[in-house]
């Protein structure tokens, strides 16, 4: 598994070159990669069904419990199949859709990077590794949304998605760390065995809320949903892949993953059901108010994500507390969740690709201007119909089953069952309206206005991809028992946290029951609303005003506020004058350390001053006194010199004097470093000052007095600190360990170096990376000033 993920990353790196070489066949060639992965995962279905679990682990930083461990079970297998399966079709589709696009190679690179990251996310067993992939999906999503980076809207949408999901991700990291600490392991497979340990932990609520913050932002739950419709600035294949079927489900995946150990509590039920329910309804209402195909789909995706959160909320962990949640209901909810997840991925990807076809061929995606395209684009129309029927929940499509199970689950809910069922009904009704908006109006409706260009059927890759996805929805709907046992069964077992495999029997036609009646009612109501939608839209006009005060505007205001604060503190602190910076640094240090010292009752300072025979002592330590004199003279020279270069040279003398002290006290490494740094500093100053004119004027006497007092006080403070530090003895000195182990473990006699390259090599690695970044920053500051020609 690890190698598979690595392979996709490598292909992603190579894909710009592959794209150049293969030209128009790029989509097909690159689609072979996810296709072969899909094949591999498909061969694992039988093993997973029989209850086997595939694991793989590689030590990364075992002392921190961070391991590259991966784990394949029912839930991750379904996600992996979706990622690679839909991924294959999307890559295939994008090869044609983006033909001639300037950034097609880069686009493929990011798309495949995303695919690898997403696979890593669902397969990772270690929480930290999973988080790493989680962030990687956010970053690749940022670049994919911003594919057309020349447009401001695309850049804005990309940044918004990154900031919102990134902020949630940070909260989630805190939650994951707490969860690992509370559960005693960072391996998900271990945590899942911990039973009630997390639920009964004192930190349960913070852990839950922090992790949900990550899941809700990633999966566009209200009130964090606003980034998703804006992300529709991305090319259509990206919307179809990331923003409907895979990435936005990462949050759903994580909630499903932790539900056996975190779910089933009052908080879990309350938060997930309310947020999921609100998202489900708000998304659906906003969806029918949109007029552009992709935005309609985006809001309906938000709604669908709400449904999944809702289902996880009402159903989690029936096995854990049979008295509070009815086991049968939990089974229905788990089944409904799994089926809905699969059905939604299939029909939503279909409809997005259809929307892409319509926009590409008709030149507009405004449903008000589209109509009667079925004659010109029969195959796309067929795909649209299949997708839309599944979404609306018509039998015998797969969506019908998921709606049945959803209603069964809500009706069996003991608490607020009627309310939840009504909410699910309403959402289902609005889904029907959305389906009609997408599939009926543009393809079979009367043409309201002439389309911008005469539409023709798309090239093969662009119609076959949505058609295959739509057909999959039909096949699964007719033969649900074929996937029930192998795919759905293991997931339901995992969700319920059951020790024995749970039997799942799916049938295409459950017979006449109350849920079916409700489903038919939803379809009828939906069609009725569609028929008189202009009147409904007018009625919902007040909602539009509400939208202006919605979460989207909170984001704008928060961002504007952040920038304003940034500008304010820049004006306040960053004047551009070096002396002011120094002043601020010194005053801050003085204030903080000074207050700390003043609060102490007594300072642990011991004077080691020879009482008797002071003269002989001075004679023996003459070299020290001379060095001190050198340093003092250098300092005085630096202050009094009228030429900058002389001042710098004097400062250099101070530095060399300090290096001498290091030599006297047996720190040759430190002395060497000091001398070299001093030399380079003088050299740098020379390079800069060489071109500056001489100092023309000096500060006023008052200012100089202020500076003298400040610097004098600071010098005094540092001296006191040094004297204190000498007398403080820490209990267990780590240096003792280093001294004892340097030759044995580190195989070196220079302890400083052994620490740098062996004991603390990770720190050193971090430091040289920081150093490199700093050098790039300096380069950018010097070379890329505004109004300057950028060379090479």
């Amino acid at each position: 598994m690890m190698l598979l993920i690595l392979a996709v990353f490598l292909v992603a790196m190579a894909s710009p070159a592959v794209e150049r070489l293969t030209g128009r066949w790029a989509g097909i060639v690159l689609a072979l990669v996810p296709l072969s992965l899909f094949g591999w995962f498909a061969t694992q279905i039988a093993a997973i069904q029989s209850g086997a679990k595939v694991s793989q682990s590689l030590a990364w930083a075992p002392a921190l419990d961070v391991n590259l461990s991966f784990h394949l079970d029912g839930l991750s297998l379904l996600f992996a199949l979706l990622i690679t399966g839909i991924g294959t079709l999307v890559v295939f589709y994008a090869g044609t859709y983006l033909r001639g696009h300037a950034f097609r190679g880069r686009f493929f690179a990011w798309l495949l990077t995303f695919m690898a990251a997403m696979l890593g996310l669902v397969l990772a067993d270690n929480l930290i590794v999973m988080f790493l992939f989680w962030e990687l999906t956010s970053i690749s999503s940022y670049f994919l949304i911003g594919t057309d980076h020349q447009r401001e809207a695309a850049r804005r949408a990309a940044l918004q998605a990154l900031l919102v999901t990134g902020l949630g991700g940070l909260a989630m990291l805190a939650g994951l760390l707490l969860m690992g600490a509370a559960g005693g392991s960072f391996e998900m497979s271990q945590l899942l065995l911990s039973g009630d340990r997390l639920r009964e932990h004192a930190l349960y609520l913070p852990i839950l809320l922090l992790i949900l913050a990550g899941c809700f932002t990633k999966s566009a739950q209200w009130p964090f949903h606003f980034w998703l419709p804006n992300a529709m600035e991305a090319p259509t294949p990206v919307s179809a892949y990331l923003h409907s079927s895979t990435m936005v489900k990462a949050g759903i995946y994580l909630m499903a993953r932790v539900s056996p150990v975190m779910g089933g509590t009052q908080w879990w039920f309350g938060v997930l059901t309310v947020v999921g329910g609100v998202t489900m309804l708000a998304g659906a209402v906003m969806a029918i108010r949109q007029s552009y195909l992709k935005r309609i789909l985006a809001y309906s995706t938000i709604s669908a994500l709400g449904v999944m959160t809702f289902l996880l909320g009402i159903g989690a962990a029936g096995a854990w507390s049979p008295e509070s949640v009815e086991p049968e209901m939990a089974l229905y909810a788990a089944q409904a969740f799994t089926i809905f997840l699969l059905a939604h991925a299939l029909y939503k990807a279909t409809l997005f690709l259809v929307a892409g076809n319509v926009a590409a061929q008709a030149g507009t995606a405004d449903v008000g201007h589209l109509g009667a395209l079925a004659r010109a684009m029969p195959l796309t129309a067929l795909a649209a119909v299949l997708g839309a029927l599944s979404m609306a929940g018509f039998p015998p499509l797969f969506g019908f089953l998921s709606k049945e199970l959803l209603l069964e689950a809500t009706m069996k809910q003991p608490v607020l069952g009627e309310v939840l069922t009504a909410a699910a009904m309403l959402a289902g009704t609005l889904f029907v309206v959305v389906s009609a908006l997408i599939a009926w109006g543009p393809f079979f409706g009367r043409t309201a206005a002439a389309t911008a260009q005469p539409a023709r059927e798309t090239p093969l890759p662009m119609w076959i991809s949505p058609l295959l996805l739509g057909a999959a929805g039909l096949v699964f709907g007719i033969l649900p028992q074929r996937i029930g046992e192998p795919l759905v069964g293991p997931i339901v077992t995992g969700l319920l946290g059951a020790s024995e495999p749970v039997a799942v029997h799916l049938v295409a036609w459950p017979g006449f029951n109350f849920a079916l009646l409700l489903g038919l009612g939803a379809i009828a109501a939906g069609l009725a609303i569609y028929a008189c939608r202009t009147r409904v839209l007018r009625l919902s006009e007040p909602l539009a005003r509400l939208e202006r005060w919605g979460p989207g505007s909170w984001y704008d205001r928060a961002l504007a506020g952040l920038i304003a604060i940034g500008q304010m503190q820049t004006r306040l602190l960053q004047s551009g004058y070096l002396r002011n910076y120094l002043l601020i640094v010194l005053i801050t240090a003085l204030g903080l350390i000074g207050t700390a010292i003043l609060r102490l009752e007594s300072l642990p300072i011991a004077w080691d001053w020879p009482a008797a025979d002071r003269l002989r002592w001075s004679y023996e330590h003459l070299y020290l006194l001379l060095t001190a004199c050198l340093i003092l003279m250098g300092a005085a020279g630096a202050v009094h010199s009228r030429s900058r270069i002389a001042a710098v040279a004097s400062l250099g003398a101070v530095g060399y004097g300090v290096a001498l002290i290091y030599v006297f006290y047996g720190a040759p490494d430190l002395a060497l470093t000091q001398i070299l740094v001093e030399t380079l500093t003088v050299l740098l100053f020379m390079l800069v000052f060489y071109r500056l004119p001489g100092t023309k004027q000096r500060s006023s006497p008052a200012l100089r007095l202020r500076d003298t007092i400040l610097c004098g006080t600071f010098g005094l403070l540092m001296s006191v600190l040094v004297l204190v530090a000498v007398n403080i003895q820490l209990q267990d000195k780590i240096s003792d360990f280093f001294i004892a182990q340097s030759v044995g473990l580190g195989q070196g006699r220079n302890i400083v170096n052994v620490i740098l390259v062996d004991f603390r090599a990770l720190d050193t690695l971090g430091e040289i990376v920081v150093l490199s970044v700093a050098a790039l920053g300096v380069l950018a500051l010097l070379k890329l000033r505004p109004g300057r020609e950028v060379s090479a």
Partner: protein, 138 residues
């Protein structure tokens, strides 16, 4: 700075400083020295060239770009750390050969920390030169 004395001195000092910097880096594990110090010194000798002649000459002496040095240095350090991963040990595990005699040098042992330290050396040379060259070109 067009100073004949500085220029002549630089030409003779350069190989000495350069050799000494490598010497410092190699002996670092047992005696005072190491990649950081060696790197600073290594950068100094090129900086001296830039001061005595000009940046273009110093760049010709360097033959590679500074950012390439940084990249190679980081790569060395990362590879030295990643070797352990291949065998199944944690990242940054160290490995040493046993001591073997080398003519004129005496007993020598090689190990991944040496590779790591050369990475530090190259990165430091690259970083310092990148800053100095950029300043000197202004």
């Amino acid at each position: 700075m067009k100073s004949i004395i500085l220029r002549s001195a630089t030409r003779y000092l350069f190989p000495i400083i350069a050799l000494f910097s490598i010497f410092l880096m190699l002996r670092g594990h047992d005696e005072p020295g190491g990649g950081f110090i060696g790197g600073l010194l290594g950068a100094t000798c090129f900086a001296l060239y830039a001061l005595a002649y000009d940046v273009a000459t110093a760049r010709r002496m360097l033959r590679v770009e500074e950012h390439q040095l940084i990249g190679i240095g980081l790569l060395f350090a990362a590879v030295a750390g990643a070797l352990g991963l291949v065998v199944g040990d944690p990242f940054l595990s160290t490995y040493w050969t046993s001591e073997f005699p080398v003519p004129a040098l005496g007993q020598v042992k090689l190990g991944t920390p040496l590779l790591f330290d050369s990475g530090v050396y190259l990165t430091v040379v690259g970083v310092v030169l990148m800053i100095i060259f950029a300043l000197a070109e202004e």
